[in-house]
Subunit: 138 residues, 2 copies
DNA sequence: ATCTCACTTAACGTATACGTCAACTTCTAT
DNA sequence: ATAGAAGTTGACGTATACGTTAAGTGAGAT
């Protein structure tokens, strides 16, 4: 009944990251697994937490931001404040991405212009349309 | 004529960067101004070069890539090989940006989903719809 | 008993593009 | 002569997310 326990390597492989990464997250206080002697032991809760972390990363949040969110999760039993905060973050990120989208479009337009101009300039060149393989075979 | 000469600070201010940046580019062999004694002196050619560098940056190329391009510019009198190389780089960058665009769209979609779900969850909450300003005024 | 694997901590390395001193030298103006 | 502005060369600092040794511990397998 999902009382499975994991070692670092297991959990890491399971979620497609390295053990180093998982330990790193712990160092950054994003995870806090129990120990069996000296070794880390992860529960399904830890696993869920890590999944949240990875999702946050995919969505472009920094580890610091993710940590703030997770800290709220822990400190907010009703989860209301946490959801408000989440909403704020998500909106902000969306705004930022909208801007990125614009910038991206502009950049692509400029690159396409350059490509066209360059192609035109190359086509206007008279000699050596292709680097003739037999130029003075030696 | 445009035989104007610039000092680092002048050139930097002129193009909206810091003198540190201009010197940094020289350290990276992207610029190679003359000297008047110990001081850097920039010509309109140097200025044009710097403009190219900044443009490349705007378009998302690394300084290393920009340097390769500029080196070609110097070593290729006909400018043909250079233009081919440029075309290649530009195409590659465009491909990369197209992928970024996709990833961006996916990310935004996921964020919008999260936002909606969070809003719904918040709306479903009974108490304290807004953090009432007068909660037990003390 | 020894090998070998998995685990541990600590700490330096990486990539990118500069920012920010520190410590001088030089030039111009007063 | 001297203050002040501007220039110079190092060289370390910054931010982010880990990678990569190094050096050692504990446990099961042979």
């Amino acid at each position: 009944m999902s009382d499975t326990l994991y070692t670092v390597t297991q959990l890491a492989n399971d979620l497609g990251v390295t053990a180093r990464t998982v330990r790193f997250y712990e160092d950054k206080a994003l995870l806090n697994p129990r120990r069996a002697g000296n070794n880390r032991v992860y529960t399904h809760r830890d696993r869920a937490r890590l999944i949240l972390i990875l999702r946050g990363k995919r969505l472009g949040f920094t580890l610091r931001e993710i940590k703030e969110y997770l800290d709220l999760y822990d400190a907010d039993p009703t989860r209301q404040e946490q959801m408000r905060a989440l909403l704020k973050r998500v909106q902000a990120r969306l705004d930022s991405l909208v801007e990125q989208e614009k910038a991206l479009a502009e950049t692509m337009a400029e690159l396409r212009t350059i490509a066209q101009q360059t192609e035109a300039a190359l086509a206007a060149l008279p000699a050596s349309e292709a680097p003739s393989k037999v130029r003075r075979a030696r």
